[in-house]
Symmetry: C2
Subunit: 280 residues, 2 copies
């Protein structure tokens, strides 16, 4: 059975999200497989070792997942063929019997810490914050470590590593959701409710982004996202990730993208895929 | 003498950059003061404890410094009154006598690791990467830690913690520069070569970003940066940071910004300041 890669180890939010996605979409044709680093997951797709990857692309609070955007933009052979918007709930995890006022160090992935910044400043102003590679690794370090440690992470991580959830739902923003994309070597056929993603670099001239957006305005194409990233070759040059409603085989989208391609110095179609849930 | 805050401890790139900036601008009216966390620096400005803060706002490879952008957008009383573009050179630091093939763990700030991702994948594929709070903290942990540790960091960090530079200039991209801004409670008077920064949220309607950019196009104002960040209240809503050439008291800028303010649901002037070096 083909495999779908995610950022492990077991107990990460990615694993929780993948289970929700597979349940929602009623897909039983793939086996989940954990990878230890984001580039490894996507390289396994380009190398044909796995069929698909399920990776986060943006969070409603912390913003884009830069590593994923950069690989989509600059590496060949990766296309988006699906998406899912999953709510994220952060919890404070510790060994059974840990008193809240005995906590000296809190570990998590930098995004986990970022999502609870106000909570931590209010309730744990003196505690040391230690960024680690994943929320699951944070939970594992707490499970194996000395007293006084706590982790910010998922309920799945608490179960996996035998920790207690000593505070739940500690994220600053109740509306904390992450958008995941399914990445494969091809995109998806039209379903009638689709989205299309592109990335481009406008010419390095005043008003060039404006002139690209003008194209979408003329064809009355609804953009659901616009995100800038540095072009990496110089400060002040950007590439833009744009998502729109519609499939690349729709006549309007097809015509508009032909024009966008003509007006940009770098253009890449990232794929069309079924709309994965209203971005409310 | 008033103080200018930066992200410490001593030996960070921020300290190196601040020294370069103070030398370049021939300013002797401020004493540098290290802070241990980014929010503390900016809160010290709003509270009047220090006169200015010198903080990174974007890197040519890793992109925006989210914490700084979010505080500028959402907290009152902070304005940009200066900028400086500083080249960043990453080095591999270790205890004297460390053999390259004896390195088992490499520590750095997540941006330091990100800036050397390809180098690390090529030369240290098996090594554990450990993100910590700053490049200086990484150097300190290496200086105090067991054998086999190395840090990615500045030459200043090597000197401060008595480490050897065992590989220099290991960043993936030769064009690795960081733009720093000087943040104060007020912005700067016109010099004739100025920039102005704003942040706004376009209405949640198709084409609304396009309609704001149209305003700059009509007044022929040159935008030097456009950067999106999540609005935080829901996935798919964005705020936009825009920098332009000119001072807010220039007639064209003043008229255009009055119109932008009218067309946006959220608008904040972040300040006008002397152009701090060509963004080539």
């Amino acid at each position: 059975m083909p495999e779908i890669g995610y950022l492990g180890p077991e107990g990460t939010f990615s694993q929780e999200a993948l289970e929700i996605y597979l349940g929602r979409s009623d897909r039983t044709d793939y086996t989940p497989r954990a990878f230890s680093a984001m580039p490894d997951i996507l390289h396994a797709v380009t190398d044909g070792k796995i069929g698909e990857a399920f990776v986060p692309i943006e969070n409603s609070i912390e913003g884009p997942v830069n590593e994923v955007l950069d690989m989509l933009a600059f590496e060949d052979g990766l296309m988006i063929n699906g998406e899912a918007v999953i709510p994220i709930k952060q919890n404070l995890l510790a060994l059974k019997g840990t008193a809240v006022n005995g906590i000296t160090t809190i570990l998590s992935h930098p995004q986990g810490i970022g999502q609870c910044r106000n909570y931590l400043a209010s309730y744990f102003p003196q505690v040391m914050l230690k960024p680690v590679a994943s929320t699951a690794q944070a939970a594992r370090e707490v499970a194996c470590g000395e007293a006084g440690l706590a982790a910010i992470g998922s309920g799945a991580a608490a179960r996996k590593y035998g920790l207690d959830i000593i505070r739940n739902g500690i994220q600053d923003n109740g509306n904390n959701t992450t958008r995941f994309v399914v990445i494969s070597r091809h995109d998806s056929a039209m379903t009638g409710d689709d989205k299309t993603s592109i990335v481009f670099s406008a010419d390095d001239k005043p008003g060039s982004l404006y002139r690209v957006l003008e194209i979408f305005n003329i064809w009355e194409i609804n953009l659901t996202k616009i995100e800038s990233r540095p072009a990496k070759d110089q400060l002040g040059k950007y590439i833009f990730f744009v998502d729109m409603n519609g499939h690349r085989e729709d006549e309007d989208i097809s015509d508009a993208l032909r024009m966008v391609r003509r007006k940009t110095s770098f253009f890449k179609l990232l794929g069309s895929y079924k709309n994965g849930g209203a971005v409310k």
